[in-house]
Assembly symmetry: C2
Homo-oligomer: 340 residues x 2
DNA sequence: GTGAAAGCGCTAACAA
DNA sequence: TTGTTAGCGCTTTCAC
């Protein structure tokens, strides 16, 4: 039914080997006559031959596919990573298997098993939690792995990420420089590394500046959670003068709650966020935010991974661990009021 | 290096066949003794056995993977589709191969070839243009294909989509009912089916209502294009009273240009859009927009596709073509002024 | 109840 | 310069 090299070889009367060699571009190397080569090529073209990757995969133990494990494709931040990665991979003939874990560690373990069974050549990963036995399994199988955006410092796995701590720290310092003394923080999912780092940055800045107000609420990178937590926050006796949403999804929820309760931004409440989504400029009050160099991060990580994949088995240089931490920038807009 | 059924069979002294049968869950059928079965299972567990899909694929001519060809993962609208599709596929053990064509027809042809060589079981597709020879190639190979969001009415391929024409028509009717007589439209990429339908809906509503102003600009679903086209539009002698952006990406550009040129929405210019992105509610002026039932569309399409995949070869009922067109809804906000 | 052996499509070591 | 053949890991027909 499907065309195979056997069909080609029978049709023009040369061996399977010859066909295979011509089609995989090593005709020169075996000094196959130009005539034979062109006959093979012509017949392949005529029949519409497409190589069967499963067979190649089985034989070569190489699948020309990369797995991408991420917390949620529905989140524009992660889908942008997928987009960039895909754009690097496609021209090289690699497939991208995307696995969406929905921020769930169990799903992540399954994703890893799934990828192993698919003979994946390498894994790009944005881990969803603190669990790492499944990641160690990948390591044991000698599979190249690179972390993006989130990572485990203690594992011998390269990573490329924004410096989440630094970003949050810088943002809080800025708020303080504007005179704010009561700054609340609405976080995403606990135990997620990027979230912890950001919260850590927030707390560090608070304590370094000897402020005595500290408030951290929330447990999910969603608009719903941002909304609920803000409602809760606004019922506290001692209210903040500024709210730091640790993602733009959370931010939208914060803004919704603020609007409902009649708070104007920035007059009644200053608001800042992490992610710098494209639409922040157009909000009723343009929101100051931390910009992550997402495209650069994605490109670096996939290049790093492909590098490891290519090198695998070849040179005997140990696969050194690379640690790339990129400093994010604060993008100043109009959502912070000077407090006196 | 990797564990195979051979390892298991040798370790416990049963045949490959038996191991295979137990592991693929047909032990009952062959009346394999419970003892043997449990020994196999135990050893597989102990060794951390993971089946090699390439081998299964080669043998069964089934890859348990589905291809998704889309115009751009960076566009939240399409990445949401990918997310939903992925969520249906993952629990069934299917892989999702995502191919981002960057709205380019050549890339789309390559994507199709790529998928064929991967022995894909079915293809979900959001076509980027008018070209369909590569799609006919899929048909010739008897591969199940389903279109989402965009489609070719003339091909014998099922589709699930928003009724783009109807959506645009309804929106323009609404604008007219508010008294607008000069309505401009900024479109996305020409020759893209969804875009053409929307433009068609716009024009139809204009002509049915005997308005004599008609303006269609733009050629890309991007913020940049929306911006440029609006700048251009605002230089025309006869200006519109309302602008219809055919996507939310375009909308952001429109808003940027409007703001720069000192137009207030809706006082100086009414604005509406297609897509109903989550952030529209929070813009300085919340924008009235067409809401596409994206999650439903995605779910229906992948279910339809899996159905075809499962049925393939089995029943001899011809694979009937399903045409699902879902009516979108206008979500009314505050960006349209009543004109008298 | 269990097993031997063929074969899916491809590559590469070895032969000629 | 080209061909023969073994084998990648798995399922399945046929045999016992």
């Amino acid at each position: 039914m499907n065309i195979t090299i056997k069909d080609i070889s029978e049709n023009i009367g040369v061996s399977l080997t010859t066909v295979s060699r011509v089609l995989s571009g090593v005709a020169e190397k075996y000094r196959i006559s130009a005539k034979t080569a062109s006959r093979v090529l012509a017949e392949a073209e005529r029949l519409g031959y497409v190589p069967n990757q499963a067979a190649v995969n089985l034989r070569l133990k190489k699948s020309f596919s990369i797995g991408l494990i991420l917390p949620s494709l529905a989140n524009p931040f992660f889908s942008t990573i997928a987009s960039v990665v895909n754009k690097v991979l496609q021209p090289k003939g690699y497939s991208l298997l995307v696995l969406d874990c929905d921020d769930d560690e169990t799903a992540e373990v399954e994703a890893v098993n799934h990828l192993i069974s698919r003979n994946i050549d390498g894994v790009l990963m944005i881990p969803s939690g603190k669990n790492k036995v499944h990641i160690e399994k990948l390591l044991k199988l000698n599979l190249p792995v690179v972390f993006v955006d989130r990572y485990f410092k203690e594992l011998p796995i390269s990573f490329v990420s924004t410096n989440h701590f630094e970003g949050a720290y810088a943002m809080v310092e800025y708020l303080i420089s504007c005179g704010h003394k009561r700054i609340a923080c609405i976080q995403g999912k606990h135990h997620v590394m990027s979230n912890e780092e950001r919260v850590h940055g927030y707390k560090e800045a608070i304590s370094k500046n000897k402020l005595n107000y500290e408030y951290v609420g929330g447990n999910s990178f969603t608009m719903e959670d941002g909304y609920l937590e803000t409602k809760l926050l606004l019922q506290q006796r001692e209210k903040p003068t500024a709210i730091f949403a640790l993602s733009d999804t959370i931010l939208l929820g914060v803004l919704k709650a603020l609007k409902e309760d009649g708070y104007d931004v920035p007059t009644d409440m200053s608001v800042v966020s992490f992610d710098n989504s494209i639409y922040l400029d157009y909000l009723s009050c343009p929101v100051t935010s931390i910009s992550q160099p997402i495209s650069e991060i994605s490109q670096m990580s996939i290049r790093l991974l492909l590098d490891k994949v290519d090198k695998k088995g070849k040179e005997d240089t140990l696969p050194e661990k690379q640690e790339v931490l990129i400093s994010p920038a604060v993008i100043y807009r109009k959502s912070v009021k000077e407090v006196v």
